[in-house]
Every structure is written in structure tokens, then in C-alpha cells.
Amino acid sequence: MAGTGKAHLHPEGDALLRVEDLLVEFPVGRTGLKVNAVTGISFDVLPGETLGLVGESGCGKSTTGKAIMQLPRPNGGSIAFGGQELTSLAGEGMRTLRTNIQMIFQDPISSLNPRRKVTNIVMEPLNIWGIGTPEERLKKVNEVLEAVGIDPERAASSRPYQFSGGQCQRISIARALVLDPKMIICDEPVSALDVSVQAQVLNLLEDLKAKFGLTLVFIAHDLAVVKNISDRVAVMYLGKMCEVAKSDDLYLRPAHPYTQVLLNSIPVPDPKVRPTGNQRVQGEIPSPVMPPSGCRFRTRCPIAQDRCAAEEPQLQALGDDHYVACHFPLRTAN
């Protein structure tokens, strides 16, 4: 798996965001070794679409999200937003383009400055960009706060710690919305929340997406959540792309052994579905400092063969917008 290749990309002009051969590395101390966080992945997001990025810890999904925002700048590859190349942009051009893409983070408490009033936090983007008069800014902020279900009056007099986790996440969303972005990158936005609150936030995201015509990149480790909110899902493993498919298709007919394993591992809230031991994958994710050769999943793959160690699989089409990077996919093109 762990494939490279761009067979799954849509024609150039169609996508709002087009990421090609993205490469992000982090140095390990001063050893000269590198963490290969993301190694040559490509994907695109169509306007108005929700793309889900899913995978376990260390697969590079969050790194990918941040790399799109150029936080930090990736070590290689290209990221085109609306036809404009982001990686070569610098200074003012980059700053301006950033208003079009916004980000929501995992920890709702830590992503809000504890010492500022909520209204100020949401207004900060407008202040940075000097948009509108103070009255116009306040009006805009209150509108957005209303839209995410936060009482503007309370926001004006309260600091983040006076709100619950779910409400803080709403405030984060309001801050992201206030500049009228085209795209929002949601980095594990619900994993710190309780299930009942998680449902509120997921529903809110769906509503806002429809209301403001947003395009979403939704990053999470929980496949059930990702599947629910996304139109298409990309499964990642150890810095590589495994499988890209329409979300229902991915669940009904997974083609990559890793996707299958992931689906089997998710605990189903139904005692009749009893998972059996032989469906379990053995071992744990290898170190991204020295990843396995060939297909990166081969060390844990139940059907790995010699070829998987020697040769890195490329993404191949299975039809119906379904792509897989595996030498021995669980199903072939129809």
C-alpha cells in the first residue's frame, strides 16, 4: 500500500485543492535521522465536497492538514488551491491566500487563548486583516456566533474556560468562519468530545457546510465518524495513501487489506456482531523513522508476499471513483 501515484486525481481544473507528491519530514533531535511523516501523497478535493482523511496515529493525516496551511512549509511536492500554487507563495501573497483556508484543531480548550474574551478571539482574524469598521466587525462576529449557536452577549463577557468543550469547539468554528473561507480543514475536531456533544458538532458542520457553501477536509482517526460526514474518504498508513473511495463504497467493498483491518477493528455497538480473533491484525505500527521497504503495511498484512517488500504499489483504479494502492487488492476492477 502505502502507495504513490496520481491515478485518482481529477482533471486539473476541477478540483479546488490539489495536492501532489506531498513530502513532510521532521528531524529527530540532532541525529541526522528524519521522521518521514508524509512521503509523497497526492489527493484532491472538489468544490463543495467533504474529503475525509483517516488513519491511525503516525499515519501523517494531521501533518498533511497542517502542510496545506503551510504550517510548517512542506519539504516537497505541490499544493494548488484554486489553481494557485501555495508552496512557492511567500509573504503577502501567502498571507492573503490563507484567509481562504481555515483550520479547526483537536483540543477545543488549547486552541483558544485563555486570557481573551470570546468575542475578541472570534474577531481577531478581522483585526489582523483590518476588515471593516469596528461596528461592522462586531456585527459580523455576532452573526457568526449566532450561526454556531453561541450567545453573542455571553461571548462578549466570558473567557473560553467558562464554556464547555463542545461550546469551545463551536467558538473555534466561528473563528474559522469569520473570514468567509472557501475551505476548512478540520483536524480531529470531535475526538476530544463526548459522544452526545460530538453529534452536535458533526451536525453543525453539516449545516454550516450547506449554509456557507464550504469545502471540508475532515481529518480523524475514527472511521465511523469520517464515513458519516465525508463524501470521499482517503485511508492513510505510515505517511502513504492506501485507498481512496466514496465513503459508502469504502465501507461496503474495501479493497485494501488495511482498510479491511481497520473496519474489523472498530468496536461495533452491537453484541450480535462478535469480532473473531483471526480478523485481528498483529503487531503495531512500525517507526516512521525507518519505515519498511516496498509496501509499508506488509509487516502486518495478512496476505503479504515477496513482491510487497520489493516493490511499492501504485494507486490503481477500480472504477467508480475507487482507487487502491495494493499489489493484491481484495477486489479488482469491475
Binding site: M94, R98, I128
Partner: protein, 317 residues
């Protein structure tokens, strides 16, 4: 060397956070009230020393007939001489108040200067990291490895022998300025290290990342996102630091490296009267000692309260 970190609690686990919210068994704010009132009174006396009749009415340097009258000094506190007088017959109370003026000004000026310089350097080192951080950390190490007395010798002993120093707006005694420079230099490194460690942890927070994602400039992030979160800790450190500096000034003055004329600080007064201790001159030592101790204690109490108010872990300076 790793740094002393004041930990800003992020998300304590539920049980400890519950238990920590239990009020301390004594809800004793008495100490704080007492400390603040003491400092207020002392500051009031020091600021208005030249105007207050009960400070001014005593001749601090008796001459002529009065000096002769006082030659056989009693030394004991009396209704006339509240703190007694020393072997030259000088009134210890008036001298102590004038000394408070000097001591407090020196302490305050040094801690403010050190906080501004050290805070700025620490913030830059913690935020930009890399080479900047490495160079600064060597500078901090150098400052820490400097013996205080050698620093005092160089700055006070030679550069500021005496006379007036004209700094445009200010005009002040050169020696006075020298002491402030020494104390500032001594406290820059420890303060900068505390601020650096804090900044380091704060700049990992997601709201800083969020601000960068919004296109905020580094300057804006430092001023708007990081500085406000540093302030409570710096505020607390300012008080405990002030206490430490008063002790340090006491040591320098004791050794003769601080202002002496026309009025010394408490440390020098203690050293001056020390030789007289056995000959009934104890009061002239006792009162400066008590004032110095109480002042240091009061600042420590206030600093501790501020730290607890903002839930900051104890820091060493």
C-alpha cells in the same frame, strides 16, 4: 542545564482537579493584608520622607551643641527617638526611613529593568529557538557564572565612583545608578530562563498555531497571544524577585558596594552599627534588620499569593 519551568496547568485529571479545588484548611488572607499594608505604609514614609514632620524634625546629622549633647548617647528607643540612635547620635528612625527610600527605589528599578530586558530576551529565545536561543543561552550561562562581587567591583567600584550622572530626563547619583545596573545584570539571566521556558511551552499551544494560520505576524502573536499568558507568572516573579534583590542589595551594601552618602541603605546601616553591638548599640542594628526582614517577607508573601491566585508552581530565582 535544563530550566526551571513554572508549569501552567493545561488539563489536570478529574480527580486531582477536584481535590485541588478544595480550599486550603486555613483561608487566611491575613498575611496578605498585613503585607500589603506594611508595604503601603513603608512606601508612604519613603516617598514623603522630606515632607513628613515626624521624619524631618530630627536632625539626621547632628552638629555643634546637639552633637555634644548626644555624645553620651543612650541608644535606646524613646518617645523622642523612636528607634533609638546610633553612636554618633543620629536618629535611627529617620535614617531608616531615608534608607527605605533608597532601598525600595533600587530594588524596584532593578526588577523592572531586569523583567523588561530578561523578559524580552527570554521571549525571543523561547519563540524563535534555533541559533538565537543557543547564543542567548550561552550569554545567560556567562551571566550566571560571573561572581556578583566582581561585577559589583567593575560597575560600582570603578565606573561610578561618585558624582552625578545625567541621563537626559533623570539625574542621579552615579553610584546609585551603578547598584541598579549590577542588580539588573544579576537578575536578567534567571528571569530570562523562566520566561524562555514558559514561552517555549506556550508557543506549542494550538491557539498560537491558529493565529499563525490566520496570517498573524510573529510580532502580533508574541504581543497578543503569548505575552498576556506570560504576565501572571512575570507578575508573581516580580514580587519574589524584588525580595531576592533586596537581600542581594543588603549583601552588597554590607560589603560597601552600595550607596552610602548622604544616606545609606539598610545593609550598610547594619554593618556600620555592628561593631557597636556589644556596647549597647544593639538597637541601631536591630531596627534596620527588622525592616529589611519584614520588607523581604512582605514581598515574598505577596508574590506567593499572586502565584497561588494564578496557580503557578513555585519557581526559583
Amino acid at each position: 542545564m535544563s530550566d526551571t519551568v513554572i508549569e501552567i496547568p493545561s488539563r489536570p485529571n478529574i480527580i486531582t482537579s477536584l481535590v485541588r479545588r478544595i480550599p486550603p484548611l486555613r483561608k487566611w488572607k491575613f498575611g496578605l493584608v498585613l503585607s500589603v499594608s506594611y508595604i503601603v505604609v513603608l512606601t508612604f514614609l519613603a516617598v514623603f520622607a522630606n515632607v513628613l514632620p515626624f521624619v524631618r524634625r530630627y536632625n539626621v546629622l547632628p552638629k555643634g551643641a546637639e552633637a555634644r549633647r548626644l555624645a553620651s548617647y543612650r541608644g535606646k528607643p524613646s518617645s523622642e527617638y523612636w528607634f533609638g540612635n546610633d553612636k554618633l547620635g543620629r536618629d535611627t528612625f529617620a535614617r531608616s526611613v531615608y534608607a527605605a527610600q533608597k532601598t525600595l527605589t533600587i530594588g524596584l528599578a532593578s526588577i523592572v529593568a531586569a523583567l523588561v530586558i530578561g523578559g524580552l530576551l527570554g521571549m525571543l529565545a523561547g519563540y524563535y529557538r534555533g541559533w538565537y536561543d543557543r547564543v542567548l543561552s550561552v550569554i545567560f550561562d556567562v551571566l550566571l557564572a560571573f561572581p556578583a562581587i566582581v561585577l559589583a567591583l567593575i560597575v560600582v567600584g570603578r565606573f561610578f565612583q561618585g558624582g552625578r550622572l545625567n541621563l537626559g530626563v533623570f539625574e542621579m547619583d552615579k553610584r546609585f545608578f551603578g547598584v541598579i545596573v549590577v542588580l539588573t545584570l544579576l537578575s536578567i539571566a534567571p528571569l530570562a530562563r523562566i520566561v524562555r521556558a514558559q514561552t517555549l511551552s506556550l508557543s506549542q499551544r494550538e491557539y498560537v498555531l491558529a493565529a499563525r494560520g490566520l496570517g498573524a505576524s510573529s510580532w502580533r502573536i508574541l504581543v497578543r497571544e503569548i505575552l498576556p499568558n506570560l504576565l501572571p507568572a512575570m507578575f508573581s516573579v516580580a514580587f519574589t524577585g524584588l525580595a531576592v534583590l533586596l537581600v542581594a542589595e543588603g549583601g552588597l551594601a554590607f560589603l560597601g558596594f552600595s550607596v552610602q552618602l548622604p544616606f545609606p541603605t539598610w545593609g550598610f546601616m547594619i554593618n556600620e552599627a555592628r561593631s557597636d553591638l556589644t556596647k549597647g548599640g544593639g538597637w541601631a542594628v536591630f531596627f534596620p534588620c527588622v525592616l529589611l526582614f519584614l520588607t523581604v517577607l512582605a514581598f515574598n508573601v505577596i508574590g506567593d499569593r499572586v502565584a497561588r491566585r494564578f496557580d503557578i508552581r513555585e519557581a526559583t530565582l
